[in-house]
Amino acid sequence: MNLILFTFIVLLGFTSYYFGRKKAYTIQSSNKRLTALPQFYGYYLAIWCAIPAFIIFSLWAIFEPTIVKLLVLSDYSNQGYLDDELNLIYEKTKSLSRGQFTGEITPFIEASAEKYLSLRSIAQSSKAVIVLSIIIASVAYAYKRISSNSRTREPVEKFLNAVLFTASLAAILTTVGIVFSLIFQTIDFFKVIPLFDFVFGTHWYPAKAFVRDSSEALDPSMYSDTFGAVPIFAGTFFIAFIAMCVAIPIGLMSGIYLAEYASSKVRQYAKPLIEILAGIPTVVYGFFAALTVGPFLKELGTSMGLEVSAESALAAGGVMGIMIIPFISSLSDDVITSVPQSLRDGSYAMGATKSETIKRVIFPAALPGIVGSILLGVSRAIGETMIVVMASGLAANLTLNPLESTSTITAQIVVILIGDQAFGDPKTQAAFALGMSLFLVTLCLNIVALRVVKKYREKYE
């Protein structure tokens, strides 16, 4: 039904475009000067036809279910049901009306199912009637305006401009959506768990929060020592640190080599090859870390008499470092190439060798940009999920030994939220609180990094 109405609106839109243009031609043939190109007459009519209809159509689609629900449940209003019970009754009603109900059918529910169906059909037909009459009214209005040969290009372009502007709001809406989805759960979480315990507690054991009888009221004291995020924050930064230990030397040196030493031929092939590393999906790195690097390190450790966990922080961090190499190498390559040639020439003229020029002149000049690229790399390492989920441990140990397993913010979010979630449970809320801290940390890193890079670019451009 909705689909038919939708196609109908679209078809009417196209027809009115056609009629609008035709009207313009008739005006033209009566030797009057048009105020715009003929197709603008068509667009004008089509917009007037389709847009009001779509607005009504979508408003209806949003509010219809709620209103129908209110009307159906009004029969039960004075019988002292709880909200949850009412919801259950409504779900039963709906499934009965679809013929999928398997439980016991009471006359009450049968009556509501009938009411539900009749309300739905009334709603459907009235929707069709209202939408069609809106179309007729607005098209008639627009057609009258066209006939009098009034302006059509300006309104059409204004409309397009509004569409473009709305689209550009999408980025803001996404950010708002992220903050919105995180903040309520996070606030609820901190109502149960004090912020102090979360930030300074050293025990993370969210599974404990599940071992409770749901009939009991929430008892905050039960959760002391359950949601202390220190081990997780420590693990996150520790693994990111290991990753950067791999990524910074290799990435930076290859960036320098590509920018300063490599012949254009080497550059042409080596650069895209290294960038392949950035294009490999992280789940593939995770598989590689879990299946190849982890066991390899364990065996290597055993042969040297060291006890290495198969899910060591070293394996996850090392593989993550490989993943980050191309980010650092390409960005630092860009940054170094944009250092003005005059600085190099000056240094060479003083008799410095190439490496001395790089170390003493170019590197300091390019430093802000390089720092920016490293910060972006760190932010990526902190937010990386799949490698850690697959290759690092899931239990949060507070350790600084790279051979033991640790856990990270992202891994804990996945562990908590995989499978079914119960919203309103402190464990689920904990995942959102972790997500919030992840978002804030990476946001700060990104803002600083982007600022630094931008400032640097402005300096030399």
Partner: protein, 422 residues
């Protein structure tokens, strides 16, 4: 004095050499990782494209199948194939006791009944006759045949018994074990049994999510880019939008998963585990990438084009829509494809919105529950069965293949259609 000067110079030249070597070494390391990586994936994965079949003689005994004289097609559909299937496996060793018969049955996949049924449905004239039928070998025997399974382990640590190995070796000696191209890997949905697991369901899931992502992200991103590049006044608000876009491009993907869970599932009640929700989540993630690419390629269109159009009396909207945007399309499209390739490889947000559910049917629309290729890799990698290891690598090969094709496509569009202004 002179000598020390020379020494100093030598030292400096040596330092120069060393520094150069470090750089070369770094590039070498990065490329070495890449090589190891690809070698490892291919060497573990190529065998998954072969599947081991046991060729077993099956007697289509009408009595055992409860079939009457001249059965119709429907009778054949409803006939009982389990007994003849069981019997043909048991007949491999005439002296087998009951336990051993059970072990014989486990040498093939649990689809063996269906495979025998299909054989008869394709050729109803077989009733009462004996024919050799190809049956899918169990995944452990499959691994044994491919040489991935250590046979010298003690029996209690192996999943294949000595007895099964003995019979299997006899079959191999008789030439009744064959390895053929594994079509079912591409046509079957996911399964708990490695020998029957395929990527069809997750492949369709990926396609649907990417399509949804494309349909949402592309128009919105292009429109937004046009506004920001061509129409937006330079003020605080547009600066804010710009900062926002750059930040969104660097937000960890898992945060988008939380957004999908907290808004799309919890508030809008969209169906869980579906490519629809996955696609919407991915589209929010790809949005900034496409906007940035589209803006860059709009910026690359020289102002002379716009000035010429304006001089001919076109309005700003006409100039943009008729001249600037079409000229910027190659860059925008290649940016879009690269963004989609990123989205195709994304796993974490999809896990959070429930696309890890076990799905053993092939989804027919974006509203059906499904996994996606990277999530399938994750699911299989977490499974204990040995047979899944090669499947994971094979699935990775398929995924990487797609990413390479998409990136090549983006390159081709860029080089073929982009105008060089100079």
């Amino acid at each position: 004095m002179n000598k020390s000067k020379e020494q100093l110079l030598n030292k400096r030249y040596k330092a120069e050499q060393r520094f150069r070597l470090y750089g070369l070494g770094a590039i070498f390391m990065a490329l070495l990782f890449l090589t190891i990586f690809i070698f490892k994936i291919f060497s573990t994965g190529y065998s998954a494209f072969q599947k081991t079949w046991l060729i077993v003689p099956v007697t289509f005994d009408a009595e055992l199948m409860m079939l009457e004289q001249n059965p119709s097609n429907e009778d054949l559909q409803d006939a009982d194939y389990y007994d003849i299937a069981l019997k043909s496996m048991a007949d491999l060793d005439p002296n087998a006791n009951e336990d051993q018969e059970n072990e014989l049955k486990r040498m093939v996949s649990y689809f063996f009944e269906k495979e025998i049924k299909n054989e008869l449905l394709n050729n109803p004239g077989l009733i009462g006759k004996t024919k050799e039928v190809y049956l899918t070998a169990s995944d452990d025997l499959d691994q044994v045949f491919k040489g991935n399974y250590p046979r010298d382990l003690p029996e209690d640590q192996r999943r294949v018994s000595d007895y099964q190995l003995k019979i299997f070796d006899q079959l191999v000696a008789k030439g009744k074990v064959e390895s053929k191209f594994n079509i079912s890997f591409f046509t079957y949905a996911d399964s708990r049994e490695p020998e029957l697991a395929g990527i069809a369901s997750s492949f369709m899931g990926s396609i649907f999510s990417i399509l949804v992502c494309l349909m949402i992200a592309f128009p919105v991103a292009v429109l937004a880019a046009i506004y920001l590049e061509e129409f937006a006044p330079k003020n605080r608000f547009t600066d804010f939008i710009e900062v926002n876009i750059n930040n969104l491009a660097a937000v960890p993907s898992i945060v988008f998963g939380l957004l999908g869970l907290g808004v799309l599932l919890a508030i809008f009640h969209l169906p869980r585990s579906t490519p629809l929700v996955g696609g919407i989540t991915l589209s929010l993630m790809t949005l900034p990438t496409i906007i940035i690419a589209a803006r860059a390629s709009l910026k690359a269109v020289p102002p002379s084009i716009r000035e010429a159009a304006l001089a001919m009396g076109a309005s700003r909207m006409q100039t943009t829509m008729h001249h600037t945007v079409p000229l910027s399309m190659p860059g925008t499209l290649s940016g879009t494809i690269i963004g989609l390739a990123q989205a195709l490889g994304e796993t974490a947000p999809l896990i959070l919105i429930g696309m890890v559910a076990f799905v053993n049917t092939i989804p027919g629309s974006p509203m059906d529950p499904a996994a996606s290729l990277p999530v399938q890799i994750y699911i299989w990698a977490e499974s204990a069965e040995r047979g899944f290891v090669e499947k994971v690598s094979a699935c990775i090969m398929v995924l990487l293949g797609f990413l390479i094709i998409m990136n090549l496509f983006a390159q081709i569009i860029r080089h073929k259609f982009e105008k060089k202004w100079s």
